[in-house]
């Protein structure tokens, strides 16, 4: 514990001291200029990393927020006579405002569409800054004076220290934020937006929060930028700059404050590295050898695809050759950036810091922070009293996909405290029904009542808030997060932490309690030993159980399990039965979709059978198994009464045609 503290915090403190001290020892305005730019870009990239690293989306608008922040600060000072702090606050606020506004249209988008909408915003901002001459001075630019800070005139050194101090604040606040519930929620969003909604964490609002935060930091960086260069022109804040910022984040390492810092350093220093031929050749040579070593290792261990091993070597090789044969490396600056970034993206996707971090943790054998004692399960899942009265009622529910009637007039009642099975042949509409109930789809018509009151339709998030939780037929785990984090994400709304307290790092208490509760749930499904394993690395059975533990974190009244036994081997099935029984004991109502008849017979109090979207039978498992319509549905064709006698316990046996 102490080791971790000393090494990590110690390294950060040392860096800070060195950075602060440089201008006192080295009297060179050029170096000072670079360092100031480094601090500013550090803040900018930390903001960008929130969207690119944590949310996992390509954000092409950060340069626009830089520009908006810069112009806001400039206009605040030149037009409204504001002081420095006010101007910076205004710049941050404007960044947040536009980020928030942009996040509304961009909210529902993923991947390339999100990238495109941010790209559009970028281009729009440049156009507006350029054309709105009366406000911004247009293409002719805007001169920006640097007002004194609380009466002290800031020369180059003073301004540098201001930027450095702000970087430190941002660093600390972001570290607190990103290692809290908020950071986990952002990552969950990236891995599975659907599951995030279903766990009661509003995808939309969290995405908006993340994006707004990032854009606010962009605005702050912009304000500092304006006071640094003291002359602004719209054509600086364009796509070219944005690509370089992305380069910095990816090269430095995503999801990492150090990565953002390293990336900023690379962006700022690289042009100067390039103009010095010898340095460039040394660097590219070193990079080439690294890529070669990594590539050979990857190929021999077969741990990477051939392309991943070879491509970085080729890219770095091109850099080396280029360094020898071109007359002016500066001219090829963009190509050099591109090749470096390509090599890193393909060969070292976690970036320089990502690689360094795992390397250093192994080197220094830094143990992860210890976990608290697990909570008592009864306090996590308080036993509910149940009386069998209707908990969930479906009335004439319909869901049509065009001409296909996936759910056709289903009327169904689930009693509280029961385990209610839902079976039917493939394509009978079981999953669709459950998707409608949980809010993934909006039903074409019909009513759903939860505890006697109408349930909101078509919103996973709102349904989750009414106490309905679910698992998924196709696993929707937060694959990059650990098992523990997966469960903890779902606790976000239970242990709410107001944002300001989180930023100041004052919410450790509720964090520990959430951990303790999550450990209890993991223990219940038998995964306590794997709490630190990333979900994607767990064996299949364990992943299924993890989804159940996660669903329980919300302390639901109703738990929907969508084919939990799919693909499980017999020992895991036994465990599954055990888990479901334990859940049942606590008074949680369960809807169970299953094909595995043994499981259904073992567990269910009552079973509803669907076929072609309609309810064809309902009753105790044994009754339903022998129901002629059910048999017909599964086998096709009518069944003679004589054959019915052959259908005993266990699965329905197909009769010879």
């Amino acid at each position: 514990m102490l080791k971790r503290l000393v090494l990590i915090l110690g390294a950060e403190a040392l860096l800070l001291v060195v950075l602060a001290a440089i201008p006192m020892t080295v009297n060179n305005s050029f170096v000072l200029g670079l360092l100031t730019l480094l601090a500013i870009y550090g803040i900018l990239l930390i903001g960008l990393d929130i969207t690119v690293g944590y949310l996992g989306q390509i954000n092409l608008a950060q340069a626009a927020f830089l520009g908006l922040g810069a112009y806001t600060a400039a206009i605040a000072v030149t037009r409204f006579g504001c002081g420095l702090p006010t101007a910076l606050i205004a710049a941050t606020a404007v960044g947040c405002l536009f980020g928030g506004a942009l996040s509304f249209p961009a909210l529902r988008l993923e991947g390339p569409q999100f990238a495109l909408s941010t790209l559009s915003f970028m281009a729009l901002t440049t156009t507006a800054l350029n054309e709105w001459e009366s406000l911004t001075g247009g293409a002719q630019g805007l001169q920006v004076p640097r007002p004194p800070l609380f009466g002290i005139v800031l020369e180059a050194k003073g301004f540098y220290w201001l930027c450095l101090i702000l970087l430190v604040f941002v660093w600390i606040a972001m570290r607190n934020l990103l290692s809290s519930q908020w950071g986990r929620a952002f990552e969950a969003l990236r891995d599975s937006p659907i599951a995030t909604d279903a766990m009661g964490i509003g995808t939309l609002r969290n995405k908006a929060a993340a994006f707004t935060l990032g854009s606010g930091l962009g605005g702050l960086a912009g304000g500092l930028y304006a006071f640094n260069f003291q002359y602004l022109q719209p054509q600086v804040f364009v796509y070219d700059l944005m690509v370089i910022l992305l380069l910095g984040v990816v090269l430095g390492g995503r999801k990492s404050l150090w990565g953002a810092f390293v990336g900023a350093a690379i962006i700022v220093l690289l042009p100067n590295l390039l103009s010095n031929r010898l340095l460039f050749q040394v660097f590219s040579g070193a990079g080439f050898l690294l890529a070669l070593a990594a590539g050979v290792r990857g190929l021999s261990r077969k741990s990477t695809r051939p392309f991943q091993a070879v491509a970085p070597v080729v890219a770095m090789g091109m850099l080396v050759v280029g360094g020898i044969f071109t007359t002016n490396t500066e001219d090829w600056r963009k190509a050099i950036f591109a090749l470096m970034l390509f090599a890193v993206m393909v060969g070292l996707p976690e970036g320089l810091m990502g690689f360094a971090a795992s390397f250093l943790t192994r080197l220094f054998r830094i143990a992860p922070p210890p976990l608290p004692e697990l909570a008592v399960l009864d306090t996590v899942l308080v036993k509910k009293e149940t009386d069998g009265r209707p908990l969930l009622e479906l009335q004439e529910l319909n869901h049509h996909f065009g001409g296909v009637r996936a759910v056709d007039g289903v009327t169904l009642t689930v009693g509280s405290g029961r385990i209610h099975g839902l079976i039917g042949p493939n394509g009978s509409g079981k999953s669709t029904l459950v998707n409608v109930i949980s809010g993934l789809y909006t039903p074409t018509s019909g009513e759903i009542l939860m505890q006697g009151k109408p349930l909101v339709k078509g919103s996973l998030f709102k349904v989750a808030q009414r106490g309905i939780s679910r698992t998924f037929q196709n696993l929707q785990l937060f694959s990059e997060l650990t098992a523990l984090d997966n469960v903890m994400v779902a606790m976000k709304e239970i242990y709410r932490s107001p944002l300001p307290l989180v930023l100041l790092g004052l919410t450790r208490g509720s964090e520990r309690r959430a951990q303790a509760d999550s450990l209890a749930l993991l223990e219940m499904v038998g995964l306590m030993g794997e709490s630190r394993v990333p979900a994607k690395d767990l064996p299949y059975g364990a992943q299924r159980f993890l989804e159940i533990a996660r669903a329980l974190a919300r302390r639901p009244d109703l738990l929907i399990l969508d084919e939990p036994a799919a693909g499980l081997a017999q020992p895991d099935i036994t465990r599954l039965l055990e888990i479901i029984r334990r859940v049942h004991e606590r008074g949680i109502t369960i809807i169970l979709i299953e094909h595995h008849m043994a499981v259904v017979s073992e567990l269910c109090d009552i079973v509803t059978v669907l076929d072609y979207g309609k309810v064809i039978a309902e009753g105790k498992p044994d009754e339903v198994k022998r129901h002629p319509k059910v048999i017909e549905a599964y086998l096709g064709g009518t069944v003679e009464p004589a054959d019915q006698k052959n259908c005993g316990e266990g699965n329905v046996v197909p009769a010879p045609a």
Binding site: A106, T127, F307, A338, Q473, Q476
Partner: protein, 292 residues
């Protein structure tokens, strides 16, 4: 206002809009097979145009230069697929977004150095003297743009609908693994889609270069508008891009006349953001059903 001026603006703009449609069509082709698009498509347009310029400087006549130019476009498209897209598709990730951006950057920088950073005129046998029809001036070059766009799109659409290979496109895009199990090589289909997309980009370069001149930045403005067209029309809509392209081109032109030439980009950009917000699958696109 003066009707002939409005008509002139609309016609000139619409013809330019067809270029956006052509580039957008290139996006559609790759999206159809792999749900990926080349964010560096503008650079493909530009490099192809430069290659054609070099071929002409070497003395090749226009009639030979064009097919060679189209071929070089396809080869560039294949390069993009191999270097930037295949790995990401195999990993089922979206890394191709950043990778195609990077490759575009590489092409841009290489072009700056190989061909220089100046804008150069592009030779074309098509006369550039304006024809005056009904009070509107159009140049034969502009008309050739329209002709080229319709020709190539018609051919490719025919190919997609009438041949088995075209069906393969849809299969691979719908479910890559299933298509492979059916004996369709997903990799080859994706490769083909990128080759076609590169060829279309090369054609766009050849058609538009006489108007915009050839330079490293020739296509950067065009591409953003092509994105607008592609998204607003829907990435799977075939001829929808033509309609939206014409509309957007005319709208831009009118905006530059009535509002101010600096604002001409604005309608396209605003339209893009709105379209993404309201109907991400586009005006002509099909809604997607989520399955869990």
């Amino acid at each position: 206002m003066n009707e002939s001026v409005v008509a002139q603006m609309v016609v000139s703009g619409a013809l330019m809009g067809l270029v956006y449609a052509l580039i957008a069509y290139g996006f559609q082709l790759t999206f159809a097979a792999s749900k990926s698009i080349n964010f560096g498509q503008g650079e493909l347009v530009m490099v192809s145009a430069f290659i054609c310029l070099t071929l002409t400087d070497l003395g090749l006549p226009y009639g030979i230069m064009v097919p060679l130019g189209l071929l070089s476009g396809s080869l560039l498209g294949l390069f993009v697929e191999r270097a930037g897209v295949r790995l990401a598709l195999e990993q089922k990730s979206e890394g191709w977004i950043l990778l195609t951006i990077i490759i575009g950057l590489l092409f841009f920088s290489a072009s700056e150095n190989i061909w220089g950073r100046d804008d150069r005129p592009f030779p074309t046998p098509i006369p550039s003297d304006a024809i005056h029809l009904f009070g509107i001036s159009v140049t034969p070059v502009e008309i050739s743009v329209a002709a080229g766009v319709f020709l190539i799109m018609g051919m490719i659409e025919l190919f997609k609908r009438k041949t088995l290979l075209g069906k393969a496109f849809e299969a691979v895009s719908a479910d890559r693994d299933a298509a492979e199990l059916m004996g369709i090589s997903a990799t080859r289909t994706v490769k083909l889609s990128y080759a076609l997309s590169g060829m279309v980009a090369a054609l766009a370069g050849i058609l538009v270069a006489p108007i915009t001149t050839v330079g490293p930045t020739m296509a950067s403005a065009l591409v953003l508008k092509a994105f607008s067209v592609a998204v607003v029309a829907g990435l799977d809509s075939g001829f929808g891009v033509v309609v939206i392209g014409l509309f957007l081109g005319a709208l831009e032109s009118l905006t530059s006349y009535y509002v101010g030439s600096g604002w001409r980009e604005a309608p396209g950009l605003i339209l893009l953001i709105l379209a993404l917000a309201v109907r991400p699958t586009g005006v002509f696109g099909k809604a997607v059903i989520r399955k869990v």
